[in-house]
């Protein structure tokens, strides 16, 4: 085998293995399509005693769908990189933090929107860096800015609307861009 051919093989296989990094738009679109109406629903129900009920409802629906999907897709996984493992731990940690933030905010009676935007932004930002998918990096930045706006700038009553807007811009739109990339690959 020619030496130059060896270098070509090494380079093409390195590129091939980088392509294998799992990128999955499903969870972004699932949670985005649940969290946006949840934020708007909370705002519309603000005069009632049931405004908080949207969160456990979307949490249970999203959780069940995500677990079923994860179980099915997990069977198809045929390669794992260090990046995949880091992303798994990042989003696993985010899931715990999300649960904790909602429960803590509920117990101590303060709105959780800024904390959720911040932690979702952190996980999205890390995912973008690992997968080299720039829309996720910018999505993470947008979610971080949304956390600042929700936490320090707007009145508490409007935080849920800022939350929905942040999820749309920083989470769903990058998810849709990833969906386009995935469809282009197929």
């Amino acid at each position: 085998m020619e030496s130059a051919k060896s270098l070509e093989i090494i380079e093409s296989m390195f590129n091939e293995s980088r392509k294998s990094l799992t990128k999955n738009s499903f969870h972004f679109l699932l949670w985005g399509s649940l969290l946006i109406p949840a934020g708007i629903g909370e705002f519309l129900l603000r005069e009632t005693n049931y405004f908080w009920a949207v969160w456990p409802v979307v949490g249970v629906i999203g959780g069940i769908i995500a677990i079923i999907y994860g179980f099915k897709e997990g069977k198809k996984v045929n390669v794992q990189s260090a990046g995949d493992r880091i992303m798994g731990f990042t989003w696993g940690g985010f899931g715990f933090t999300l649960f904790f933030a909602i429960a803590y905010a509920g117990v101590h009676h303060f709105p959780p929107h800024a904390l959720i935007l911040l932690t979702a932004g952190l996980a999205t930002f890390i995912s973008g860096g690992i997968s080299k998918f720039t829309p996720f990096v910018w999505g993470g930045v947008v979610l971080g800015l949304g956390a600042i706006v929700a936490g320090f700038i707007v009145a508490p009553v409007y935080q849920s609307l800022v939350f929905s807007a942040g999820i749309l811009l920083g989470y769903v739109i990058p998810g849709l861009m990833l969906r386009n990339v995935e469809n282009g690959k197929a």
Binding site: M13, E16, S17, K75, V79, Q80, S81, R85
Partner: protein, 93 residues
């Protein structure tokens, strides 16, 4: 003149090791897909790499189907790094 590692200086074996260098593990089906080699040839080359200690093979079951997973060893990583640096010397890179 630099001498290239004869185990790695073969198209399919070099493809396998180069792919494995960037992942933690890969299953046999995926390796067939990325290398575009026949299952028989791939299996023979994996066994050769396993015998010299460059990769590890784990066999298990996923549901009712047998699953073969491969991962590169530290020895395999070192061998690839040495191979690349020798190759660069040969090509004056």
């Amino acid at each position: 003149m630099a001498k290239l590692n004869s185990i790695l200086h073969q198209e399919l074996r070099l493809s396998i090791i180069s792919f494995l260098a960037n992942v933690e593990w890969v299953d046999f089906k995926k390796l067939v897909e990325v290398t575009e080699a026949s299952k028989g040839n791939l299996s023979v080359q994996i066994t050769k790499l396993q015998k010299v200690g460059y990769l590890e093979v784990r066999k298990s079951f996923k549901g009712n189907y047998p699953l073969t997973e491969c991962c590169i060893t530290e020895e395999g990583k070192t061998a690839l790094e040495t191979y690349v640096s020798e190759l660069k010397k040969l090509l004056n890179l």
